[in-house]
Amino acid sequence: MDAENWTTEQIEAYLRQALPAPEQAKLKADLEQDEQLRAEVAAYQRVLEGLDALQEENFRAQLDSWSAETATNDQTALIAWYLEGQLKPEGQQMMEARMAADPAFWEEVMAYQQLIGGMEAAQDEDFRSKLEEWEAGMAQQANSGKALKVVSRRPMWQYAAAAVGALLIAFSTFSLYLKANYSGPALSRVYYESPISERTMGGENAESTPLQERMDFAHRQLIGKEYNAAFMAFDSLMREIPRSNLDDFNKTLLLEQAGWNRLLAATAMDNPPIDLIAEARRIRTTPGHEYAGKAEQLLNDLESRWYRWAN
């Protein structure tokens, strides 16, 4: 059979591997014998490949337009997966590295965290009682005429402004002293302790290794004064550790370590995303907490006038 005897339909079916087997074999055999047929089939192949390529090009353009329409929520979804703990340790690390490298992204994550945290708290019965407690406290302050402690500082500022040069220098020196010893970053440095990994992690559990790596990463951020990144890293560990398969002993140790260091990272931040005093109190009052004693000291510092002045 020569080129004249094979129809366009058969040639197309041959090229698509859709001819019945005997015909497929026959055409193949003819191709070996007939140069004209080979040229003919090759020409159809170019036409069909061109049509397939054109179809794919159109499909890609269609996908691009769908992607542009659906991508608007990609970042929100990404942050929600992270905050909801849906990512594996590798995913968490990728997010934390991204936050450390991109302050705008970090701020976005923080905003969502506050939003989600706020919504969770709104459902919490304790939150309602806390509101009532704050309300009662504010009413008491208003009644006793001590609405804001900052009022008591005003005469001192006025005095300083009017004081002679020697007093100004003395005040500046005092201010520098306060910054060096009572600013958030200074307190964070004073209370920071390097982790003792052998003590905090069991060696046998395979799951401990990625967690330990993330803990090391978080500590490096804190030591390197990358407080925002350190906060997020310890914060995500606090969500991840309870879901791990570690035994209760190691779980508690790691959680305590992550919680304490998250507090130190937050203390060093310009705008701490958590209530420092409430968190220090939580650690101090947790029975058997490894950092309870240190939390008490930190709490004293955070509540001191020196801290307020330095910050």
Partner: protein, 181 residues
């Protein structure tokens, strides 16, 4: 066969017939779980999005060429994630320890680059432009929009699917002749 696969088998037929709504719905349904699956294990979000686009192109190609046919051995969503895993493994990422029963999808290595594909598409476009309007329309419906013969007959007011099939091969022959004209 599970109920979900029967649904997916029906969906596969819709996809094969070029139903744009079916493709769009599948795209929207699978995009987020696909991205989450890969981002969860540390794949950068941008890479996951690119991989999803590529996996959809490969799915489209496999359906068009008949490599993927009913009855399906896995849900379409799982199949698409399987394509993504193969793509990622080709980039050197080990995904063996990842959770989930994701099938190994055989994907041919890309034998042509983007330029080559563009050149082929360009040739087809030029040939279609030189064809008369009725033939161009018919070939576009069949090859670019994946219409079945019944739909083409209805669309072009032809007496039967058989007539549409004959017309299609006449047109394809004309297109081939234009190559050497």
């Amino acid at each position: 066969m599970s109920e979900s696969y029967s649904e997916d088998n029906a969906l596969l037929e819709q996809l094969r017939s070029g139903d744009q709504n079916a493709w769009r719905n599948l795209y929207e349904e699978v995009r987020s779980p696909f991205r989450l699956y890969f981002i969860r294990y540390g794949t950068a979000p941008e890479v996951a999005t690119e991989m999803f686009q590529e996996a959809m192109v490969i799915l489209n190609r496999n359906i068009r060429t008949g490599k993927l046919q009913a009855p399906l051995k896995s849900a379409l969503r799982t199949y698409i994630i399987g394509i993504g895993r193969v793509l990622l493994m080709r980039k050197g990422t080990d995904t063996q320890q990842w959770e989930g029963e994701i099938p190994e999808i055989p994907i041919l290595p890309e034998v042509e680059d983007q330029q080559e594909r563009k050149a082929k598409a360009q040739l087809a476009r030029q040939l279609l432009d030189r064809l008369g309007s009725p033939c161009r329309e018919l070939l576009e419906l069949f090859y670019l929009k994946n219409y079945v013969m019944e739909a083409i007959a209805r669309e072009l007011d032809l007496p039967s699917p058989g007539a549409a099939r004959r017309r299609k091969h006449d047109c394809l022959r004309k297109m081939r002749e234009l190559m050497t004209a």
